[in-house]
Symmetry: C2
Subunit: 77 residues, 2 copies
């Protein structure tokens, strides 16, 4: 199966959701991207449709926004 | 693994998220509850911490609110 990508920004809401998602989906099925640290991925995430973090982009390209940590504008600062 | 419970209310946002979650987590690992049809589960869902649907309650009791379909107040009507 193609991997999902979990985008977060290091906030507490994100970390909590990350643990849940990794447990549910399986560590080997998810790539984790911290947009707070890896800012070169911000454009990639927004182009994929990510409007807030944490968010999970599924293998078929759907975006699941999970809870609400921070808007992309906040992450860009 | 104890099952997760996916709560939704039949709205298009919910159905789309349901398909994604079932694909990612595996059909046998998720119980699906449609609060629009099974209104006796509304209290159970709210007591579990569900504030909007669609939402996934994980086996360890965390609530992941996914995208935003409708608030629980809207579902109660």
């Amino acid at each position: 199966m193609k991997k999902s990508i979990f985008y977060h920004a290091g906030c507490p809401v994100c970390i909590s959701a990350e643990h849940d998602i990794v447990t549910l989906v399986g560590e080997s099925n998810v790539e984790i991207v911290n947009l707070g640290e890896d800012r070169s991925k911000l454009d990639t995430a927004e182009n994929a449709g990510v409007k807030s973090v944490p968010a999970l982009v599924t293998p078929n390209g759907n975006v699941l926004h999970i809870n609400f940590g921070a808007s992309m504008a906040d992450v860009r600062g």
